[in-house]
């Protein structure tokens, strides 16, 4: 197992290099001159522009720029944005915000998604089951930004239950955006749990569990759920990785200064080092959580073994 994990982590290095190069190339290919745009209506003096270009290696060809970037990265230098702020500082400031938002979202998914899925699965074809099917279909078919604005209008403006935007209200400020961020996956988790539970309840080992004289709670809660939750847990693991790698739309709507917003702003101002730094971090998070899911999968299902 340890060897498997080590091998997977080693494999992550070429993936990270490849991904960062692609992102670097895409920022390079963006039209327009980021340095000239810095000045806005009042152009910067040519000497200043040239100095900035020199400082950020913008006159070098793409491979040279990338090589210089990776060289600095190897020494722990993530580069700076155009105002001279280190990218590592931006990340360490923004990441906790994104982490909190993602945690709130994943908790919504676990609590409500699992609960709805389990109840619907146990009471198949009941009113509650139909309710879950209809409401999850509805959620899946509404775009995130519509859901975000709707949430702001109803719960923020009309009912006044949550702040409309910003982070001035502690944990409460995270609830509404967290829910909006979670909504799509929550619906998916509910569906997945329900389907998996219904499928597993048809298995022969459920009949055996009943024949042992176990209570219905034990038949479902222990024997069936342990099997049904394998795909759900692995989905949740992968999803947490996704949630951590930026909620650009949700953070935008609710004006939350997380990594998603940071990367969006950086793309607009073509700050290559910031974009590449943060997106590469996203890629790393995603790789890490995928590995975690694979390890988790083996822990949950004894039939899965890695050599």
């Amino acid at each position: 197992m340890a060897r498997y994990i080590a091998r997977r982590l080693l494999l992550a290095i070429p993936v990270l290099l490849g991904a960062s190069f692609l992102i670097f190339a895409m920022v390079f290919a963006l039209p327009g001159d980021p340095i000239r745009a810095l000045g806005g209506d009042r152009p910067l003096p040519v000497s200043v522009q040239n100095e900035l270009r020199e400082q950020y290696n913008l006159d070098d060809p793409l491979p040279v720029q990338y090589a210089k970037y990776v060289g600095a990265l190897a020494q722990g230098d993530f580069g700076q944005d155009f105002s001279g702020r280190p990218v590592s500082e931006i990340i360490s400031e923004r990441f906790p915000v994104t982490l909190k938002l993602a945690t709130v979202a994943i908790l919504f998914e676990i609590v409500f998604g699992l609960l709805a899925g389990i109840l619907a699965g146990i009471r198949r074809k009941s009113f509650f089951d139909s309710l879950v099917l209809v409401s999850t279909t509805l959620i899946v078919s509404i775009p995130v930004f519509v859901l975000g604005f709707l949430g702001q209008y109803v719960f923020g403006l009309r009912l006044g239950l949550f702040p409309i935007a910003g982070l001035n209200d502690g944990l409460r400020s995270y609830l509404l955006p967290g829910f909006v961020l979670a909504a799509l996956s929550l619906a998916y988790v509910a569906r997945l749990t329900r389907t998996s539970l219904v499928e597993n309840l048809r298995n022969d080992y459920v009949r055996t569990a009943k024949a042992k004289g176990l209570t219905p709670a034990s038949v479902v809660g222990k024997h069936t759920l342990r099997n049904s939750l394998i795909p759900v847990v692995t989905y949740l693991g992968a999803d947490f990785g996704l949630l951590l790698s930026g909620a650009i739309v949700t953070e935008g709507i609710f004006n939350i200064p997380g990594l998603g917003r940071a990367v969006f702003d950086a793309v607009r101002s073509q700050e290559g080092a910031v974009v590449v730094g943060i997106v590469t971090l996203f890629v790393f998070i995603y790789i890490f959580f995928n590995l975690l899911v694979d390890v988790l999968y083996a822990a949950l299902d004894p039939r899965i073994r890695y050599e």
Partner: protein
Amino acid sequence: MTSVLTSPTGAAAGGAPLLEVDDLYVEFRTDYGVVHAVNGISYTLNAGETLAILGESGCGKSVSAQTIMGILDTPPGFVTGGEIRYKGRDLLKMGAKEQRDIRGEEISIVFQDALSSLNPVFSVGAQIGEMFRRHRGTSRGEAKKLAIELMDRVRIPAAKDRVGDYPHQFSGGMRQRVMIAMAIALDPAILIADEPTTALDVTVQAQIMDLLQELQDETGMGLILITHDLGVVGEIADRVAVMYAGRIVETGATDAVFSAPAMPYTEGLMASIARVDQKGQRLNPIVGSPPNLADLPTGCPFHPRCPRATDYCPTALPPLLEVVPGRRSACHYAEEVLNDH
């Protein structure tokens, strides 16, 4: 062999029989109509006795077993009539908790496919030990010890090392031994074996049947063996009940039924056995296929396939009547059939 000859509804010497199934009806209500899976079956089982329930796939034999265990899926399955008396008390009228306490403790079952019947994510030790934990409140550590003892008893080699292994790590025969260990864990009075060897290869089949018989000799439990394997029935069953289309069509001591059937369906089954002295000859299958349980033929359900059928057969359902003492047959011409042998 005295109990063998008691009539199916009569009591064995020493009181009421262990189990009495009395005029049991089970149906499945599906989107495509009502399937009459079990249509008024009655039989008894005494302690230490082996009763074989013999029949083709889909004749209702497994459904009747699941009904006795109380693990019928409702819906779609419904018990629509009859009683199942265990030690004189009707299981069907008991409360859910009381039924659960009997399940696994007094009456237990071994299923056909051990791989799918064992839970893939729990070790076999945990699954065997769960019997003690559920019914006796045994501690986890003690349950594990008892599980090892049971695995030894059903002769799983290196039980101590394998108690933590998972079902997929065992061979088919060993998995079925695990199932059996689980079923006999609490010394049940009745063991139902629902096609316990169908999924196994022939040599392993014999070992499993030997094991079941040995355990029965040790504990004196009543064994209901559900099978379509005539060879197995002939070897170990004291009595046999032949099922067709959800009904018992013939019962009696195994030897008597096998040597001289009193029902054309049983006759057909006997004739279909491949025998060494008939090498090179064609087998004699029963022509046609089992009836659709959602749309049974009128009269005797076997008449469309019966070589002895007359014009009378489609008009009246033959009741299961005594032909000679200890033997019953559901055929209008039972005595003639019997006398032909």
